[in-house]
């Protein structure tokens, strides 16, 4: 199999991949240190509502006089948190389930994949909206819903990869040495099957960020949490008078999701053995 070093080098050769990775690093820095660099309180209500961009409030203010730039800076945290935690949970869940299905085969495989298929039929967005609306808003709830509804995709890919790798000769070789089955699966097969799963995980981050923004846009987020989608829902009310309430937060969501999608694609090109030679 390909050595690790190859991945970094390959990624460096992919311009879009590098740019998006750098942008994601920038976002992480903003999430960590943003409030230090830009000391605006995103929830502070001032006496100057609906200011146009420019001047003391660089990106303007909303209907309650809250600073849009400060809201954007704080909003990074929510987006990255939801995106990364949900994608991580979905990836872990999907990988385990898919690997077990692919390795065990037989009725275990059939049952698991049928359950996965059932989950995939569920209209994710409608379910997410209903659950969050009825349970009340909350970041962890949103994360849980997204993870619960996105693992089947990962399971499918993981299963396929485990099936592919477990047919390779070296697996039989290891088995002849008397290595226990669970060890073969987790130590020998998984490391060689994980590439496409990771690429998909990166794409799920983007998807989760988009879903969180959509829920907040529909007003399904708590008012004390600064989220990009929530600014957009304010923007919706003032679409005809305050364009900046829509343009900037939307751009932030768009750029972030695009970065994760580009990175996911770049990883997919590098790590997918079936696409290796295009």
């Amino acid at each position: 199999m390909r050595p690790r070093r190859g991945i970094v080098q390959g990624l460096l050769r992919n311009g879009a991949g590098v740019a998006s990775a750098l942008f994601i690093v920038f976002l992480v820095l903003v999430a960590l240190f943003g409030p230090v660099i830009y000391s605006g309180d995103p929830l502070a209500i001032s006496d100057s509502p609906m200011l146009h961009p420019g001047g003391s409030h660089l990106l303007g203010t909303d209907d309650l006089g809250r600073d849009v730039l400060a809201e954007l800076v704080y909003g990074v945290r929510v987006s990255l948190f939801v995106g990364c935690v949900a994608a991580f949970a979905a990836t872990v869940m999907g990988t385990l389930v898919g690997a077990i299905a692919g390795y065990a085969g037989g009725w275990v495989d059939t049952t698991i994949m049928r359950i996965a298929e059932f989950f995939q039929v569920m209209p994710t967005f409608i379910l997410a909206v209903v659950i969050v609306a009825l349970l009340g808003p909350g970041l962890l709830r949103v994360v849980a819903v997204i993870a619960l509804l996105s693992w089947p995709q990962t399971a499918r890919i993981a299963r396929g990869e485990v099936l592919r790798v477990s047919q390779l000769d070296f697996v039989n070789g290891v088995r002849c040495l008397g290595v226990p089955e669970w060890r073969i699966l987790f130590r020998e097969i998984m490391p060689n099957a994980i590439g496409p799963v990771l690429a998909l995980g990166t794409l799920i981050v983007g998807y989760a960020i988009l879903l969180e923004a959509s829920l907040s846009f529909l007003g399904l987020s708590s008012p004390d949490i600064v989220s990009w989608g929530r600014i957009l829902s304010v923007g919706q009310r003032f679409l005809f008078s305050a364009w900046w309430l829509s343009v900037f937060p939307g751009l932030a969501i768009f750029a972030t999701v695009l970065a994760f999608n580009l990175l996911g694609d770049a990883l997919g090109d590098l790590l997918n053995p079936r696409r290796a030679r295009t």
Partner: protein
Amino acid sequence: MARYLRSRLLWACVMVVGIVIVGFLITHILPGDPVDVLVGDFPAPPDYVTQVRHEFGLDQPLSTQLGLYVANLARGNLGFSFLNRQPVLELILQRAGATLLLMVPALILASVLGVMIAVRAARHAGRGVDSVLTGISLVGYSVPVFWLAQILIVVFAVKLAWLPAQGMFSIRTPGTGLGVVADYAKHWVLPGACITVYYLAVVARVARSSMLEMLHQDFVLTARAKGLSERAVLWRHVLRNSLIPVITVIGYNFGYSLTGAILTETVFAWPGLGSLFITSISNRDYPVLAGIFLLAAVAVVIANLITDLLYAAADPRVRVAAPAAA
């Protein structure tokens, strides 16, 4: 073939049963009392609350409610909207037309354009044209649809005033015949464009990568060696063989079109199922929510079933292979 068909049909039925149960559970187990909506915001006497609860069968045990629900479903009764004082099925059918008028043209347009873009991109794989086309589809895939909707409104309705910002028909010009169609078309352009952009991106992405995988197969080399033009190789050989993932994604999108409609309909105040869904959420109108959920999920099952059958038509290997865990 008959065996394949039977097993897919059976599985679809199992899924529908599962969906009915999930739909019932989410709306009956999650907190939030529909009685609150029925009696309104005023403090109601406890007697009245009990009476309302009884009137709608909300005082029965859950299992009884589920039994009643299933029995009613079997008779085509999706329940009664407490809030609208109207049967849910009637309410949904009233709104479904508007959603279909929004989604179907957009999905067809997106499928055609998406495949065309993919063929173009695959033909010039790795070169400038490919990067530009792939870039465009990635943008469509990443852009929040409600934001795109807002931007289109700001630019084309507010600043340029070329197109109407909201609704499906103008209020003032009731018009007849062609006038109505033109009015609808004018209102369709912005929301239709939003939906087209997203689905076009999805279709183009899948079609391109599926074609690229095919381009390296031996039969393509043979086709080229026969002296076929590149256009014939791509459209007749590569595309046909990469159709399965493309059919999947298109079928899947048709199934999911209701979901896609929600955000777009909200921004454009399009009077379809999406708007109905959102108002039902804020009013805790459980039967309507369950009805829309049911409809959306069953639409996916049906779309998947049709997709499976199209597979079998497109690829004889599917008919022979065991259908389990396809």
